[in-house]
C-alpha cells in the first residue's frame, strides 16, 4: 500500500531536468553536437555521437592535441548521464560508474545520482535506491534540493525506515516547493510507524493546504480520501463524512469521494443523505469502478427508504449497464489478444502527443482504455511501455542501417571498378615524378649545406659564374700546355695567363659578399616552390591513400556489422514480442479483474432486484390487506349502524 502511495506521488511530480553540461564551453564541436541531441531528449543519438568522438579520440597518436582532450571528463560523465536518461542503469554500466565515480563537480554528480535513485525507486528496487541516495554528498543543485529530500523520505518509507522518513519530512514539510507532498508523506510515515493519531492529524493538515496548483490540489484530495476511508475502517463514519466533503467534485478522486460520502451516510442510517452524492455519481462515466458500484448503492438506499419500486427499476438499469460493460470488456480483451492494443500504442501521432494514452480511447477498434487508466498510470506498466517504445525505436533504426550498408557495398564496388584500371599507370607516373623530386630536393639540400659552411669558411670559387668557370677552365688548359716550356718566348704568354687568371679571381673574390647574398636570396625564393611542391606531394599521397582506402579493406568490417545488425534485429524482435506480450498480459489481466468485479456486482444486482420486487409486492400486499381490513371495518361499521334502530 505504501509503495502504491509513494508511486502515486511520481505521477504528479514533474522533475526538472538538469544537464551536467549546461556550462560546458562549446569549443569541441562534436561533443557539443552530442549535447544538441541530448537537450532534445534524443539520448540515443547523443550517446552515439559522443561515443564516436571518444573512440576516435582514444585511437589518436597524440590525443592531447585534440580539442576533446580538455572536455574528456565531462564527455565521459555525460555518456553515463545520458545513459541514465535512456534508462540504461545496469549495475556494472557506465552510468553507475559515471554517477558514483565521476570526476565532476558535486552538484552535477549529485543531480545524476538523484535521477539514478529515482529510477531504482520507480523500478521497485528499494535497496539499490537507498544505497544510491546515501552516496549523495556535498552540494546539491538548488532545483532538486527539495525533490531530493522528498525522494529520500519515500525511499525510507519503502524500506520501512519510517523514523528516518519522519525526520526528513519534518524538515521540509513547510517548503512551498514540495507543499502537500511532504505533508501527505509525513502522515503516511506516521501511520507506518504505528503513530496512528499523529498520522491522522498530519493527513488532516495535508487535506487543508491552500493552493491553486492542480497537482497540490490532487494530493490534498488524496489525503482527505485516505483519511476518510481510514475513519470508515475505524468505524467513525460521521467523522469520515467531513473529509469526503472536502474533496473537489471535479478532481481525480471525486468519484471515490462521492461513493465514500454516500457510504458514510448509509453507515449512520441517513439514507436520504446518501441519495444526493450517489445520484450525482451514477450519472458519471460507467467504466469507472465507483460508478459501477454506486449503481447498486443507489437502489440499496432507495430500498432503505422503502421506495422499493424505484429501487427495483434502478437495479434493472444496473443489470442492463453491467451486461453492456461486460460485452465491451469481452470485446476489448478480444482486440488486445488480436494485437490491436500494441498497434494502437505504436501509432506515431500518439507518441508525439503527451496525452496519447487518453486519446487512445477515441480511436475506433481500440481496446477500452477507460478500463486501463489505472493500469496505464502504474509504474510497472509505464516502464514496460517505455521499454516497448525504445525497442520499437531501435528496430526502426537498425532496419534503416541495414539499407545503408547495402548502399555502402554498392558504392565500394563502383569505386573499385573505377579505380582499379587507373591505378597502375598513375602509380608508374608517380614513381617517376617521385624520383625526380628526390634528386632535386637532394641538390637543394647540398647547396643549402654548402652555403651554411661558407658562412664559417668562405669559398669564393664556389660562387664563380658559369662564364668565369669556363674561362678559368680554358686558362687552365692553356696553362697546362705551356707549363713545361720555359723558353723566353713563352714567358710573356705565361705572364698574360697569370694576369687573366688574376682578373677573374679578383672579380670572384671582390664580389664574394654580393654573390653570397644573391645565392642565399635565390635559395630562399626556391623554398616557396619547394613548399608548394611538398604540399602537392602530400596532398597527392593523401588522395592516393584515400582513393585506395575508399574501396579496400571494408569487406570484413561491413560483413561484421551486418552480422551484428542481423543478430541485434533478431534479439529486438524477440524482446519486442516478450515485452509486448507482457503489456498485453497486464492489460488483459486488468480487464479480466474488472470483468470479475462486474460479474460479482451483477450477481448482487440480480439478488437485490428479486428482493426489491418481493418487498415491493409485499408492501403492495400489505397496502391491499390494510385497505381490505379498513374496508371490512368500515362495512362492519355501516352494517352495525344500519342494524341500530
Amino acid at each position: 500500500m505504501l509503495q502504491k502511495i509513494t508511486t502515486f506521488i511520481f505521477v504528479f511530480l514533474l522533475s526538472h531536468q538538469l544537464f551536467a553540461n549546461d556550462e560546458i564551453s562549446k569549443s569541441d564541436l562534436f561533443f557539443s553536437e552530442g549535447l544538441y541531441y541530448a537537450y532534445q531528449e534524443n539520448y540515443f543519438d547523443a550517446i552515439s555521437r559522443i561515443d564516436t568522438e571518444l573512440s576516435q579520440y582514444y585511437g589518436l597518436d597524440e590525443p592531447e592535441l585534440n580539442s576533446l582532450h580538455f572536455y574528456l571528463n565531462n564527455a565521459e560523465f555525460s555518456i553515463g548521464d545520458f545513459e541514465l536518461y535512456y534508462r540504461m542503469h545496469n549495475r556494472a554500466g557506465r552510468a553507475i560508474k559515471a554517477v558514483l565515480e565521476g570526476n565532476v563537480e558535486d552538484e552535477v554528480k549529485n543531480d545524476a545520482a538523484y535521477r539514478l535513485a529515482k529510477i531504482y525507486h520507480q523500478k521497485q528496487q528499494p535497496i539499490n535506491a537507498l544505497h544510491t541516495v546515501e552516496r549523495i554528498k556535498g552540494k546539491v543543485p538548488e532545483k532538486i534540493k527539495y525533490d531530493l529530500e522528498l525522494l529520500k523520505a519515500q525511499i525510507f518509507i519503502t524500506n520501512g525506515r519510517f523514523v528516518n522518513a519522519i525526520q526528513v519530512l519534518s524538515q521540509i514539510e513547510n517548503a512551498s516547493a514540495v507543499a502537500g507532498y511532504a505533508s501527505y508523506n509525513l502522515g503516511i510515515a506516521y501511520i507506518g510507524n504505528k503513530q496512528i493519531e499523529k498520522g491522522i492529524q498530519q493527513l488532516d493538515k495535508a487535506g487543508q493546504i491552500n493552493s491553486t496548483d492542480r497537482a497540490v490540489l490532487a494530493i490534498k484530495d488524496k489525503a482527505n480520501l485516505v483519511l476518510g476511508y481510514k475513519l470508515m475502517e475505524n468505524k467513525k463514519p460521521s467523522l469520515a463524512k467531513k473529509y469526503f466533503e472536502r474533496i473537489r467534485l471535479d478532481g481525480p478522486f471525486s468519484n471515490r469521494a462521492l461513493l465514500g460520502a454516500g457510504w458514510a451516510a448509509v453507515a449512520t442510517e441517513n439514507y436520504k443523505q446518501a441519495i444526493v452524492p450517489w445520484t450525482m455519481l451514477s450519472k458519471r462515466n460507467i467504466t469507472n469502478q465507483s460508478v459501477q458500484e454506486v449503481l447498486l448503492g443507489l437502489p440499496f438506499a432507495y430500498g432503505k427508504l422503502e421506495a422499493y419500486g424505484r429501487a427495483a427499476v434502478l437495479y434493472g438499469e444496473a443489470l442492463e449497464s453491467y451486461s453492456l460493460e461486460l460485452k465491451k470488456l469481452d470485446n476489448s480483451i478480444k482486440l488486445i489478444l488480436e494485437g490491436k492494443f500494441l498497434e494502437a500504442i505504436l501509432r506515431e501521432e500518439f507518441k508525439k502527443d503527451k496525452n496519447w494514452l487518453i486519446n487512445l480511447r477515441n480511436l475506433p477498434d481500440t481496446p477500452e482504455t477507460h478500463y486501463l487508466m489505472q493500469l496505464l498510470a502504474s509504474n510497472d506498466f509505464q516502464e514496460a511501455l517505455k521499454n516497448y517504445f525504445d525497442l520499437d525505436g531501435l528496430n526502426i533504426k537498425i532496419t534503416s542501417w541495414d539499407g545503408y550498408l547495402d548502399s555502402f557495398t554498392e558504392m565500394i564496388s563502383s569505386r573499385k571498378v573505377y579505380y582499379t584500371p587507373i591505378f597502375p599507370p598513375m602509380q608508374e607516373r608517380f614513381r617517376q615524378l617521385d624520383s625526380r623530386m628526390k634528386i632535386r630536393l637532394a641538390q637543394r639540400k647540398k647547396i643549402d649545406d654548402r652555403l651554411k659552411k661558407m658562412l664559417i669558411s668562405p669559398r669564393p670559387d664556389f660562387l664563380a659564374k658559369v662564364d668565369e668557370r669556363i674561362a678559368l677552365n680554358n686558362i687552365a688548359l692553356i696553362e697546362k700546355k705551356y707549363a713545361r716550356n720555359n723558353k723566353e718566348k713563352y714567358i710573356d704568354i705565361k705572364r698574360r695567363i697569370e694576369r687573366l687568371k688574376g682578373v677573374i679571381q679578383w672579380d670572384i673574390k671582390t664580389e664574394y659578399q654580393e654573390r653570397f647574398s644573391e645565392a642565399d636570396k635565390n635559395l630562399k625564393a626556391l623554398n616557396v616552390h619547394v613548399e608548394k611542391m611538398d604540399n602537392d606531394y602530400k596532398s597527392f599521397v593523401r588522395t592516393r591513400q584515400s582513393a585506395t582506402q575508399s574501396f579496400v579493406g571494408y569487406d570484413d568490417n561491413i560483413r561484421q556489422i551486418k552480422n551484428k545488425i542481423k543478430f541485434a534485429q533478431q534479439k529486438i524482435n524477440t524482446l519486442m514480442l516478450q515485452q509486448g506480450h507482457i503489456l498485453e498480459l497486464m492489460a488483459v489481466e486488468e480487464l479480466k479483474k474488472r470483468r470479475e468485479r462486474i460479474e460479482a456486482l451483477q450477481i448482487k444486482a440480480r439478488f437485490s432486484i428479486a428482493e426489491s420486487y418481493d418487498r415491493a409486492v409485499k408492501k403492495q400486499q400489505n397496502i391491499e390487506l390494510e385497505k381490505t381490513r379498513e374496508k371490512s371495518v368500515k362495512d362492519n361499521k355501516i352494517k352495525s349502524d344500519g342494524d341500530t334502530p
Binding site: 553536437e33 537537450y39 535512456y86 442510517e269 432503505k304 525497442l391 533504426k397 584515400s546 551484428k564 516478450q578
Partner: protein
C-alpha cells in the same frame, strides 16, 4: 443494520485498490526482461558508433572532409527560424528549426548541419537566415564568408546572434 454493514463491507472489498497486475507476472521476469532491453540498447549503440566511423571513413575522408556547424552565441537568446547554406554558389543545406531544436541551440548544443567533401583551397560560404533576437521582429539576413580548406578535415562554425553582425563564422 447488520445487513447494511454486510453490503457495505462487501462493496468496500470490491472497491479496494486493484492489486498490481504485475505481481502476477514474476518480478524477476520483468526485471530480467528490462535488463535484456538495456543490453540490446548497449549493443545497438555500439553498432551505431561503428557505423558512424565507417560512414565517416567511407564518405568523408579526412583530406576532403568539411563539416559545418550551427550554434547560438553564448549569452544570447537568438531564435533561428530557418537557415540555408550555399557552398561555392551551390545549395548544400536547408533547415527549419523546431522549438526543441532552438532550445537546444540556446542551451549550448551545436547542430552539425552539413558534412561533405571539398578540394583544398579557398571556398565561399553563403548563409541565408531567418530569425530574431528575443523581443525583436523577425528578419532575414544574408552573409558571405570565405574560408580556406587545407590538407586535413575542416570544421566551420556558424555562430548566430553574436553582436551586431548576427552571423559569424569561426574556422577550426
Amino acid at each position: 443494520m447488520n445487513k447494511v454493514k454486510a453490503v457495505f463491507v462487501g462493496l468496500l472489498i470490491l472497491w479496494l485498490p486493484l492489486s498490481s497486475v504485475a505481481q502476477q507476472l514474476s518480478r524477476e521476469q520483468i526485471k530480467g526482461l528490462d535488463e535484456q532491453v538495456q543490453e540490446i540498447k548497449k549493443d545497438v549503440l555500439a553498432i551505431s558508433t561503428e557505423l558512424n566511423q565507417l560512414e565517416e571513413k567511407l564518405l568523408y575522408p579526412s583530406n576532403t572532409q568539411v563539416s559545418i556547424f550551427v550554434s547560438v552565441a553564448k549569452g544570447t537568446k537568438y531564435s533561428p527560424d530557418a537557415i540555408q547554406l550555399k557552398l561555392d554558389a551551390k545549395k548544400v543545406a536547408y533547415h527549419i528549426y523546431s522549438f526543441k531544436e532552438v532550445d537546444a541551440l540556446q542551451r549550448g548544443g551545436v547542430q552539425r548541419i552539413y558534412t561533405g567533401n571539398l578540394r583544398q583551397g579557398s571556398h565561399q560560404l553563403e548563409v541565408s537566415l531567418i530569425g530574431k533576437h528575443s523581443g525583436n521582429n523577425k528578419n532575414k539576413i544574408q552573409s558571405s564568408f570565405s574560408f580556406s580548406k587545407g590538407v586535413g578535415p575542416k570544421l566551420v562554425e556558424i555562430s548566430l546572434g553574436a553582436g551586431g553582425s548576427v552571423v559569424e563564422v569561426i574556422e577550426q
